[in-house]
Symmetry: C2
Amino acid sequence: MDAANDDGSAAIVKRLRDGLVNDWNILENVFRLMQREETFWAQPQQWDEGKIVEFFQPEKLKQLINLTVTEEAQAHSLDEIEQLCQLVIKYSVKTSHGRFHNQLFGQLDPFGLAGALITEALNAGAYTFEVAPVCSLIETEIISSVRKLAGYETGDGIFAPGGSTSNMYGIVLARYKFAPEVKTSGMFGMRPLVMFTSDESHYSFKKAAHWLGLGSENCVAVRTNARGQMRLDDLETKIAEAKARGGQPFFINATAGTTVLGAFDDINGIADVAERHNLWLHVDACLGGAVLMAHKHRSLIAGLERSNSFAWNPHKTCGVPLQCSLFLTRESDKLLDRCNSVEASYLFQQDKFYDVSYDTGNKSVQCGRKIDALKFWLMLKARGYGQYGHLVDHAINVARLLEDKIRSRADRFRLVLDTHEYANVCFWYIPKALRVAPEQETEEWRQRLYTVAPKIKEQMAYSGTLMIGYSPLKSQNLGNFFRMVFTCFPILKDDELDFILDEIERLGENIVI
Amino acid sequence: MDAANDDGSAAIVKRLRDGLVNDWNILENVFRLMQREETFWAQPQQWDEGKIVEFFQPEKLKQLINLTVTEEAQAHSLDEIEQLCQLVIKYSVKTSHGRFHNQLFGQLDPFGLAGALITEALNAGAYTFEVAPVCSLIETEIISSVRKLAGYETGDGIFAPGGSTSNMYGIVLARYKFAPEVKTSGMFGMRPLVMFTSDESHYSFKKAAHWLGLGSENCVAVRTNARGQMRLDDLETKIAEAKARGGQPFFINATAGTTVLGAFDDINGIADVAERHNLWLHVDACLGGAVLMAHKHRSLIAGLERSNSFAWNPHKTCGVPLQCSLFLTRESDKLLDRCNSVEASYLFQQDKFYDVSYDTGNKSVQCGRKIDALKFWLMLKARGYGQYGHLVDHAINVARLLEDKIRSRADRFRLVLDTHEYANVCFWYIPKALRVAPEQETEEWRQRLYTVAPKIKEQMAYSGTLMIGYSPLKSQNLGNFFRMVFTCFPILKDDELDFILDEIERLGENIVI
């Protein structure tokens, strides 16, 4: 007799159970499909043929794929399910196409994707050693290695589901050290706690200030210089102003690799200020942390060892599949643990048969936590930090080379900065109608120039040949320009840079300004 | 000439670039390896042979796998990398073994894992339509379908990296509606905001109260009845007390499926209280939300349609690979968007060439966000809600059947509750030395009984034949007992329940109390 007390239901359950052997064949089918469709990689020779995306407007796309889910199954056979998968792949952006430069991440590292497949198949949660014995140790190993890379002599860390959360860990930990009573009694009745970050820093600090109850007004934007770096004089001014208003400064964020310009704040200079005022120094190195492994460009992040904490996303520059974000702190004495732990007696029993210090869940704000360490670990085992260091250096070198090439097409392209610091290059394309004498480059001309990137972007989407992001820079009152970001993968050759500029010219030829 | 300006570095970069074609073969190799090792599934006939885990203590495990990462690569050939992968799989817990019942999740659904593979290979981020055209629409489709399933006539939602974060979304949204000025000016100087949740609810509410600046003391624990459900009289008392202390109640959490007992709070009763006091009602249905699809047990979650928001983790009961967590709200007027958006002009430009309302990133506290919708969508396309509903009903029926079987072994087993509400069953095993007459079941006897589960758990780990979690229940002053949780997968037959009880008896035979 089956457990289901209703005959119809029991029959359905039995059919589902008996069908599982066949259902599992979907895995082989989908794996083959992904290989056929070049979902995760194509050789450079094929970049000309394979489109990055077959772009359709949302309403049209809804007609091309039946997205609706209902009570009844809509794909009954493995063939039908595979057809659905094929449509999903067909109309998705091929982020691992070598000409996808639209975000802060690029192609995947094959060893990263291999690690991701194992992670998915093992489906472990990262809270306890008992459920994830190997992966817990791997997580600890990565944290300890990155701690040493950063020059922290002591410390602790945790993997978080993205940079926004990693940065929040920094703010929460700083607040806990500054005022541990917040953990129990909250911030009500306190004088405002104030944090400082540059006007070019990531928007997640404002979101965090809201979520954590500080309020966005208490996340003070410090002005940046022309290169996008935090101005130390303005930082001092803003701290003094906050104190004069009755606020309690407790936290400074320095950015190592801003989102748009790729600028690195002067960490040593900011650390001096932080020490003078006894403030926590966090470094948002989500983008630029990759230089920790670099051979030639490591100095960009000089002073990191003086910070109290930092965040780094190897899923950006390094080719680890999303998500892989690390939060590290130099603080010891189990500060991270004391800050975030609450008694969860069903999970973190103290009467276990192994050393419970290997249970990492207490340090986390999450409970069940996806394992993000294995894929990065496999990459590091296969290539070591050293080889990634060369790839990071190469990505930065290529960015400088693109600047050279842009300078040599000065009539058609213009750089936002003469030279950028990291693997970002920001530039305008100047279409024929806007190529005028310098004195004719009026405010009205600039406003027209700022409409060019969005229009070419549209052409890019429909042609599927190239994807590059664009952005304005409000802090410097600049309108839309292209932001090209190089990453460890694809490993580009010089001639690819010519293709990129040629293609922008080709797509920009016929746009109407 | 290569872009790298140093000959040694250039040669390494060239070698890495040329090596990529070969490197990508790792994917095929790892896929084959996972099939050989039965990483993701084994047929029931094989459960007897295949161990769930080869357990070793942490220090020993570190000797079995060289975990260290260094500057130099440590695995140079694809064979060596595959060997590493093999060790990782060998010593990891096979959570998809049919006898892994240690957490709130069990085996994977094959269609879920297939969707996860595609997700990893596509490696898209969920912030904009532009980068994830198909997956953004899929996310919206799932949110809208679950909203209807829940009985919300209007509303919105977002995927979050786990239940703790989904519950935080509820608290932050409730606070924003109660006091929108918190977003800009923070909570300083306010009378304490107070939230209420039962003493059997998940510990993430306390963590959230800390992170969000409310403080754990303002997360008031409401007492539960003997079945683990929130007591309405105590809720009224606690609200009155908070008001008397000068606090501002703003949020009640009802739990649909508590972590240990699987208890469902009386949502309708709590909704009456919430309406009377004008409080936001959130439902933590992370575990129990699966009954939304059930045919026979849907009534467990009656009243959900009256809540303002809820969280549901299909990665628990339903067999979706970690992570898949949904936050839903009944509130319209773009409340979620207004609550969480900040101006991020580099990402959410308003001058795009498509309808930017398809960009979902503004609603999220994250920036780059892993796509968690595709795998669940593929499952629903293949089976529909209806078939999962039968599997959820089956899991609950099986739990009731286990209770029957435990009652029929009354000398050796004892239930914590006569009957549980959901797919959880909590029970003690009574070893021979503790089988005494009722009047001899003293406090000292109970303290000895509470040491049994951890000892059998150790035996389970070393034998690798069965994994079941254990927990105390402090709110009712009960010590360790086994907590067995049934899930949609594995789809168990009756005789498997006998195996489970027999195996506990076998392992418990020789433990020393």
